[in-house]
Symmetry: C2
Subunit: 460 residues, 2 copies
Amino acid sequence: MSKEIPYKIYLKEEELPRYWYNVRADMKTDHCPILNPQTLKPVTVEDLEPVFCTELAKQELNATDRFIEIPEEVRNFYKMYRPGPLVRAHFLEKALGTPAKIFYKFEGNNTSGSHKLNSAIAQAYYAKEQGLTSLTTETGAGQWGTALAMACGFFGLNLKVYMVKCSAMQKPYRKAVIETYGAQVIPSPSDTTEVGRRMLAMNPDSSGSLGTAISEAVEVAVSTEGTRYVLGSVLNQVLLHQTIIGQEAKMALEKYDCYPDIVIGCAGGGSNLGGLMAPFMADRLAGKHAPHFIAVEPASCPSLTRGKFAYDYCDTGKVTPLAKMYTLGSGFIPSPNHSGGLRYHGMSPILSQLYHDGYLDEARAVEQTSVFEAAKLFAKVEGTLPAPESSHAIRVAIDEALKCKETGEAKTILFGLTGTGYFDLAAYMSYNAGTMSDYIPTDEDLQKGFEGIPKLEGIQ
Amino acid sequence: MSKEIPYKIYLKEEELPRYWYNVRADMKTDHCPILNPQTLKPVTVEDLEPVFCTELAKQELNATDRFIEIPEEVRNFYKMYRPGPLVRAHFLEKALGTPAKIFYKFEGNNTSGSHKLNSAIAQAYYAKEQGLTSLTTETGAGQWGTALAMACGFFGLNLKVYMVKCSAMQKPYRKAVIETYGAQVIPSPSDTTEVGRRMLAMNPDSSGSLGTAISEAVEVAVSTEGTRYVLGSVLNQVLLHQTIIGQEAKMALEKYDCYPDIVIGCAGGGSNLGGLMAPFMADRLAGKHAPHFIAVEPASCPSLTRGKFAYDYCDTGKVTPLAKMYTLGSGFIPSPNHSGGLRYHGMSPILSQLYHDGYLDEARAVEQTSVFEAAKLFAKVEGTLPAPESSHAIRVAIDEALKCKETGEAKTILFGLTGTGYFDLAAYMSYNAGTMSDYIPTDEDLQKGFEGIPKLEGIQ
């Protein structure tokens, strides 16, 4: 019997979703408004326009339209690498000896190596449509920078990527990919901005930080004609674009005649998990049968499991608006961890609200050595070398499948395999050599981060 | 209209070919027999058994069975990453402004990053079936080592990969991938073999060569219980396994209602091009309408375009049997070139014979800077960052499409996109920086190589 079940299902191109799904339109309680840090009033499209493309600013604040049409040019670009496969993890099930059915939605079949391209191409499209010529952004590990470079290369937009200096130095190949697609990589802090020069004057040897890189990218965007700033996670617009993941997964699961009992995703800024679970969350919010949702985060950066639900800055440099979210404090410095994409102090306001209200059922923090153990097993039996970020979801999917083995339940588990680990081999080398260690912040470490959360009279 | 044409076609899993196609069964003139270098008699299965798995030795010498059934376990493994997509290069056509229809068969959607996995899993399967416990191989650039490590990891076989020392040093991440799948990487020359120790005694600082690595891997295979040696190209068995590429491409093209006018593949050892063109060659050999076939090789290592059709050793160390093929001489050292997979002095005996007899219509040598120019354009418009090897085929596909632009012909062009360039970024960096140079061997350079071709009384 099991032999007749396909190993994977690719939807046809004509089945590619035509709309992104805006989960805010269905939420019982909308997330608290994003605040202008000067006025402490809810931000408006006008507030955001100097920084973001107008259409994206509108998407950011759109709480009412359930469906946003995917522009045809974006949909055509999607067809280069989408629909992505939904894979039945036959070999993993067999290796675990579990009665559970494990499925994963794979987003790594494109050169950016991850789901980031889904939002990058949309953001570049709106910039092009608005007649802009240039974009700026920051990148830490480099996935987002790569995805946006591909998108800007495609639409003929200039792109400046402020890349955290130590990362640019350690990962020359990431820099090389970005440059191959025609973007400019500027190690941050740099002498191209005021904030960069200030940082360099204070410390000429600074290895940089994501906070500084964001500040540099924003400064260039707001001070340069025809230029805007874009971001690869956390924002509502990004989560919106990523709902294509969940929609495809749901349609493909229907072809398997399956509905998930558990949906698992890694959560850094939250856009991947938010996108994967969105259409299933729609079922939950409509009062229908729905899966148990699990967000997986690194034990070293536990914003959902140990953070505070509070208004905070989205960046370390405190130049962004304030968002009500689960946060470790914008000054929290996560310990060295190989999942660069999950080292974020906060969490998407949408996911934060859903978690606060009990719709996102559970968050689980896992340690990186156990994550890499799961990653290696997965690579061996399912072929694909997973990204460390994605492997957080693999870890918990395996744990849930092993529970099923104990109880004899044949649950259907869906997880998001957000990307591949081809640029993360230093991490695998460290794990293979047995030199990787775990780190869990103490309550005191967290307390220091919490002290940086702004005290807002009458709001917080 | 063009919007209704799919950007890519994935066959269904049940359409995955059930047989490999043995083009030798249809060749008008079989290739000259492989000779035992001691006796100069055609090798037998018994001659090959100490080195190769028995079933693979049989496949190597099988000139009569048109179809070889793909074992079910291999076919199931294929389902992890196959059928591979056939892509209509809409965006490339548009960028070139050509009336040509360009299609490419993409083989890079797996962690080995190339088509090599198609043969690696088959070879590992037969080893497992024979009750062997271990395999040995060599790797230069690392793609083949990665593919075989994945295959051996899957079937639980031990694997020793002799990796050319300078490559192991320069590409620690390739080594890391191989080790992550559980294989052992031994920089060659090593002190684990007699030939390695001999090389080290002569030159302790030797950076190694493919020839030495092959000799080490073969020595370990023939001297260790339950162990055999495997190779990733050149051999008939490898070309046989790669025919899955062409069969899928042909079936998918039929769904597009297309038949190619031109089929283009890069050619190093020849297994990729051989596999891609095999089912179309069957048409040609049956006297039906068939495409124009073009083999593309680097100008720095021009075995088909400037080599001799002669009996020669398949390795630099002269430990292998003799094959009649286009060769630059087993001692020919190609100049530094970033396409490691194409730096081979010889060519598959099957392809050599087909080229000699005029069935493989044309061979074209291209220079690497023009190859990288094509690669960058392709990456920008079609998304995927191509491997340097594959980019040789892209270069010629673009050239043919531009000819169509001049003539107004709407030819159908099919080329093989064998893999991705994610581990070739040093090459892209060199091209981006403008420091990449071309090299074409002089007639004198070639003459030196030709002098190494053995003089075989009454045979050569």
